[in-house]
Amino acid sequence: MKEGNIECNVIDNREIANNIYKITLRGHVLGNPGQFYMVRAWNGLDPFLSRPLSISDIQDKQISFVYELRGKGTKELASIKTEELVQLTGPLGNGFTVNENLKSAVVSGGIGIAPMIYLLKKYHKNMDMYAGFRAEPYLIDECLAHSNNLYIASEEGLGWHKGLVTELINVDDYDVIYACGPEPMLKAIAKMAQNKTMLYVSMENYMACGIGSCLGCTIQTRDGMKRVCKDGPVFDAKEVYFYE
């Protein structure tokens, strides 16, 4: 029987880039790259639902999430202080399946970099990293430490490749690509990869239960309706229909 709920103490919670926060918690946490937790940092019934956040790092009974300030829930999360409590449910979802013998690239867009740090770390220096940002890049040190090669794009330039991350990558150089980011980005890579390169994408959707029982987060796939939380969040891109 799994233990689903974990109450964790905040070790650190800080803004690491404009509107981007990293929170580190202490607790008996488990999980693989690509898996996520449902996170709640408040007691009241509003906000009602927990927020899905990908594992960005786990080590020594500590877990980190990197999150973008969006609405009510992430605002609550950003406001909590050291030693306060956060409720976690998880680890949830399938996570990435990796074959270390293949030539691999990781592609992220914006906050989609969060789970990829943990993926890179787990397969230390084994993968090339392509990270795209709207403005100022973040988590660069972590990428540098654990990727084979690092390529950075920013829509604002700021000394990096000015433009989209998809302009940096030659998909044919790789056997397999792992991608996480906004749907237009995933769609663009899917188009580039076509049937040549294997592509695994981490999908997002609005969630209620996070464990596969409410059918709130389903997406249409070539193999029928699939639950992002339970059957995903990582899907073979060939399965997914990309809408915008």
């Binding site: 009602f48 639902l49 239960c209 059918l215």
Partner: protein
């Protein structure tokens, strides 16, 4: 002292049922706790044929609640019986087969199929739109509801619980019509018809425009409805709507519910239903209640 409840001659080891659509077919929660600890489980709504459900956004959070527009996604009764039922039958838990449909014929055929299983109770969800009657939901007008309940009643020997929609025009008359048509019991409430708008896109959030509101936000209204319907009919009632903890559950019981269902609370906390079972038992101990009957409907009214 124990929290056993007899309901239509069926023994529930406690009054807590996992509500339809919030608990799948039990498997996912059973990864976290043995669902046999619960009194019962109402399956995700079943229809005669497979349904892929609604496209577009399905979940939207609201203050102390959520709206959903799942659209009865389910594998159809046949595949449910093959793929999901065996697991549930192995559990020591009363199964309610939640049955949906778009037409009276579909309901009747569905009920007939379920009649052949070992499931003891059919929970008839009459909130679905009635395509034949011009899109009006069975759950709104008591005359339409009477028809469907009567037909389903004839199609099955199972215990028949009719699940009422709070959107009914006159919920007491609706309840009476369903009982007259042969319902053994009533469960209420289903979700409230509600609306949310994306003000930047200037469009409704949901493809179907409206969607169903559930969660603690609706509890005070759901509780009033249970109280009101209890006064109007003589059959047992399953209370549903925003139950988050044992205190809420006890409120529904005191308002007249024999059993209760836990829905959206399962999303806040995977152990919510389990904790409610435990809380009810502690409350009974503390208050020296030896059988829940002692407090069922105790606030009176009838």
């Amino acid at each position: 002292m124990n929290s056993t409840v007899e309901f239509l001659g069926i023994n529930f080891k406690n009054p807590v049922i996992a509500a339809s659509g919030t608990f799948g077919y039990g498997k996912e929660y059973d990864e976290y706790f043995d669902i046999s600890i619960l009194g019962g489980i109402s399956t995700k709504g079943l229809t005669l044929h497979e349904k892929i459900g609604n496209l577009g956004r399905r979940i939207y959070e609201t203050p102390s609640g959520l709206m959903n527009s799942i659209g009865l996604q389910n594998p159809g009764i046949n595949r449910f019986i093959e793929d999901e039922l065996p697991f549930l039958l192995k559990k020591d838990i009363v199964i309610l087969a939640n049955l949906g449909g778009d037409s009276i014929e579909e309901y009747v055929l569905g009920a007939k199929k379920l009649d052949e299983t070992d499931i003891p109770i059919i929970e008839l969800n009459i909130s679905c739109p009635n395509v034949k009657e011009g899109g009006m939901a069975f759950g709104i007008d008591e005359k339409v509801a009477y028809e469907v309940v009567k037909e389903v009643r004839m199609a099955t020997k199972k215990k028949l619980v009719v699940k009422l929609s709070p959107n009914a025009k006159d919920i007491s008359k609706m309840a009476q019509a369903c009982v007259k048509a042969g319902a053994d019991a009533l469960s209420l409430v289903n979700t409230f018809n509600a609306l949310a708008i994306d003000i930047n896109k200037r469009k409704p959030i949901f493809n179907n425009i409206t969607a169903g509101l559930s969660g603690p936000c609706i509890k005070p209204i759901a509780l009033r409805i249970v109280y009101e319907v209890k006064k109007a009919v003589d059959v047992p009632i399953i209370g549903i709507g925003g139950i988050m903890d044992y205190e809420d559950a006890i409120e529904f019981i005191m308002a007249g519910a024999t059993l209760i269902q836990v829905g959206s609370a399962n999303f806040r906390d995977i152990y919510a239903s389990k904790k409610i079972v435990e809380g009810i038992e502690e409350f009974m101990k503390k208050e020296k209640i030896s059988n829940l009957k002692e407090i069922t409907g105790i606030i009176g009214g009838k």
